[in-house]
């Protein structure tokens, strides 16, 4: 009689073999899967071994952290001389901006970061309000904070002030009146003029701070300022230019937009800067003085706007005609069509392009050192021409390279995050 064997319970799963799980498997699959992969792995390891220890040694182990001049650095070690950065840190950060005013750019940046957080990460509350503040309030706030009051003759007389007030009331009323009648364009213009008047009055008042000279701006502060203003102007202006370029129904506007974009794009940035810096004052009537930073800002923003326009136009081209037609059939006017249907899609497509332009713009700011504005690069150059710090160009350049890297890399990471978040089924 045979005894039947019936299994009543399953044999427990064995862990996968060591060759298929854990770190060894990961190594096998990713680094040593084929003979040429193994070869490449060893080669890269060898390269890393060649590069990393000397870099670490230079930057950390043989570096001098405290020094008063290059002689002490030389005596202290063969590596970087971080003592110089320490001693000249304020120059690197603020240029010649007065020490007692350093809190002003600091405050501007802190406010910016706090207001930016809800905009960047939509899990935080108050997003709409912060965005409104950043677009409408922040520019005037920062200009006033950093620059202080700007002398304007028309505010010296009661007559002048009265004119400003009248202009503001008229513009605001006109805007409001048209808004009630749903005239989007007219009310937009009215409100815009009212806003600009408020803006001018605000920066003329300057929050009652002490005025500062723009030629004292320098270092990271100037670099961020140039890039920040460039970005803030380039994006909206770029969108307008891109729309203008496609506006077949308005040939003159279209021609102007095309002309601007093509002319600006066909000259190098450095020549635009030279032009703004040296030719502009020659053509200006005497007495009208634009300061250097202002001129660079204008040149810079217009240049960036032309590139941005083409990036945005790329996005507009990618929107199928059906979308426009669908919007039309819903009875949306041009403005609503753009705001609700076209631009959200178009801009989403070109996020990588936009951010690339921003990153490029940020790094292009270093060109202003050629027209002798003391941006981060020029400050670094000046640091090792001070006879106290001769011959320390490595330290200076590595330091600013780290700053540039941190800022550009975080912009690029944020763009990736944004793409992830916004992808709604188009991802290939």
């Amino acid at each position: 009689m045979s005894k039947a064997f019936v299994r009543t319970e399953f044999h427990p799963d064995l862990p996968p073999p060591a060759s298929e799980s854990g770190p060894i498997a990961w190594l096998r699959h990713n680094l040593f899967s084929t003979w040429y992969n193994s070869l490449a792995t060893f080669f890269v390891l060898y390269l890393a071994w060649l590069v990393i220890p000397p870099v670490l040694d230079w930057a950390l182990f043989s570096a001098v952290w405290e020094a008063n001049n290059y002689k002490e650095c030389k005596a202290g070690g063969t590596g970087a001389c971080w003592g110089m950065i320490d001693k000249r840190f304020d120059l690197f950060m603020y240029g010649f901006y007065k020490a007692e005013d350093h809190w002003r750019p600091n405050l501007a940046i802190i406010v910016f970061i706090i207001a930016m957080l809800p905009v960047l990460f939509d899990k935080l509350p108050g997003r709409r309000m912060c965005a409104m503040f950043l677009i409408l309030g922040y520019p005037a706030f920062t200009v006033a904070l950093i620059r202080g009051p700007i002398e304007m003759s028309s505010f010296n007389s009661t007559m002048g002030i009265a004119l400003w007030v009248v202009a503001f009331v008229a513009a605001a009323y006109w805007g409001h009146h048209n808004a009630k009648k749903f005239n989007a364009v007219q009310s937009g213009i009215g409100y815009a003029i009212a806003y600009i008047i408020l803006f001018i009055v605000f920066i003329a008042w300057g929050m009652g701070l002490t005025p500062t000279e723009t030629d004292t701006y320098g270092g990271l502060m100037l670099t961020v300022m140039l890039a920040g203003v460039g970005i803030a102007v380039a994006l909206p202006l770029g969108i307008l230019l891109a729309l203008g370029r496609r506006a077949n129904s308005m040939p003159i506007v279209q021609m102007l937009c095309i002309g601007f974009i093509e002319i600006v794009r066909s000259v190098p940035l450095i020549s635009v800067l030279f032009m703004a810096q040296f030719m502009l004052p020659l053509f200006m009537p005497e007495g009208i003085k634009f300061d250097n930073v202002m001129r660079a800002l204008v040149g810079f923003s217009l240049f960036a706007a032309a590139y941005m326009a083409e990036v945005v136009r790329g996005g507009l081209q990618a929107i199928p005609k059906g979308q426009f037609e669908a919007a039309d059939s819903l009875g949306l006017n041009f403005y609503l069509n753009m705001r609700l249907i076209v631009l959200p899609q178009a801009l989403k497509i070109v996020i990588p392009g936009i951010v690339s332009t921003f990153i490029g713009l940020f790094k292009d700011t270093s060109l202003v050192s050629i027209i002798a504005l003391a941006d981060l690069l020029l400050v670094a150059k000046q640091s090792y021409t001070d006879s106290n710090w001769l011959g320390l160009e490595h330290t200076a350049y590595v330091f600013i390279a780290i700053i540039y890297f941190c800022i550009c890399f975080s912009m690029s990471r944020y763009s990736m995050y944004l793409e992830q978040k916004l992808h709604t089924g188009h991802k290939r």
């Binding site: 290059y70 120059l91 030629d215 004052p281 005497e286 003391a374 000046q382 006879s387």
Partner: protein
């Protein structure tokens, strides 16, 4: 390229020559400061220190002018200029005076429409070598490899010099002075050539400065001096006589420290300079004590020199030809009379 630059500068000048010929001194007095163009940074000549205050040999010239006009050396706004921007900045009136170790050449003086007010430093191209090479003169450099910066007159001067002396050399072309120094330090070239003021500064940061020497030969003339725009001779005079006061003060032994006691010295020229006799200041449209203010503020030429680029500083330049005419140099001031 050079022709283009000239063209641009002259075109620029043609536009402004009418506008900017107004009395610069009056403008300066009205705005309350001088705008002085300096380099964006050159060791010993002009560079901001750790606190962001401009220091240097050229900087002190502008401070002297400020002292002459306002009695205060700090009423200067420094505009850093690059080799590309310096002349347009001066031509367009953005700066009032350019003190940016600029070589006085004929074309700059005439064609570009500037007025060099004198020479504050006689520079010239020199050679640096390792002492261990055993070379005592540049004429023994046949076949040497030479580190030079690309696209500078240095390159042309070098080629000319070697051709005239029937020697050959291998150029090691580099982009800037820092790169040149590193190549030379690593032994990538036997000789490093550039202006002697630059050589001295670079030498002090070599890994072993004492193992190197600068050869005695100078193969080019680079008289460096401050300059102003054509068309305002009064302003040019002011700059010229500021420089002359610095030099004369050294000649007469007036220093920052003894300027007060020298006011009563038994020497009419010193008295004229310090304003206790005569009225030289009025001829320039300045106060009586303009000369005294200059010396009180920055010292005489020798003090300015020793403080910024002299042997005790890292730049470590011996006086050489920049000594006074009666001490073996060629520095000479017209008399203050």
């Amino acid at each position: 390229m050079k022709a283009l630059k000239l063209l641009a500068a002259t075109a620029a000048l043609a536009v402004v020559s009418t506008a900017a010929s107004a009395a610069t001194l009056d403008d300066v007095k009205k705005k309350g400061f001088i705008q002085c163009g300096v380099t964006t940074g050159l060791a010993g000549f002009a560079a901001p220190d750790d606190k962001g205050v401009w220091k240097g040999f050229d900087v002190d010239f502008c401070r002297a002018m400020s002292a002459a006009i306002f009695g205060d050396p700090m009423k200067v706004k420094f505009t850093p200029t690059t080799g590309k921007t310096r002349f347009t900045a001066l031509a367009s009136g953005e700066i009032d005076v350019l003190a940016r170790n600029t070589t006085w050449t004929m074309s700059r003086d005439t064609d570009l429409g500037f007025e060099f007010v004198g020479v504050n430093y006689y520079d010239g191209q020199g050679f640096m070598i390792r002492k261990s090479l055993g070379v005592k003169s540049a004429t023994e450099l046949n076949g040497a490899s030479v580190c030079i910066q690309t696209g500078t007159t240095t390159e042309l001067n070098l080629a000319d010099y070697f051709r005239t002396n029937k020697m050959s050399f291998t150029p090691v072309v580099v982009e800037d002075s820092a790169e040149a120094r590193q190549n030379y330090d690593k032994g990538a070239c036997d000789v490093y050539t550039t202006d002697r003021s630059g050589l001295a500064a670079q030498r002090s940061v070599l890994s072993e400065p004492d193992a190197h020497m600068v050869l005695p030969e100078i193969i080019s003339k680079e008289p460096l001096g401050p300059l102003v725009r054509h068309g305002d001779n009064k302003w040019g005079d002011l700059a010229r006589w500021t420089l002359n006061v610095l030099i004369s003060a050294e000649e007469m032994g007036v220093t920052q420290a003894n300027a007060d006691s020298m006011k009563t010295a038994n020497n009419p020229e010193i008295k004229r300079m310090l304003g206790t006799e005569g009225d030289l200041g009025a001829m320039l449209g300045l106060g009586k004590d303009w000369g005294y203010n200059i010396i009180k503020a920055v010292g005489n030429y020798s003090e300015v020199y020793e403080r910024n680029i002299g042997p005790k500083t890292p730049v470590n330049l011996a006086r050489g030809v920049n000594a006074l005419w009666n001490k073996g140099g060629i520095l000479y001031s017209a008399p203050l009379r």
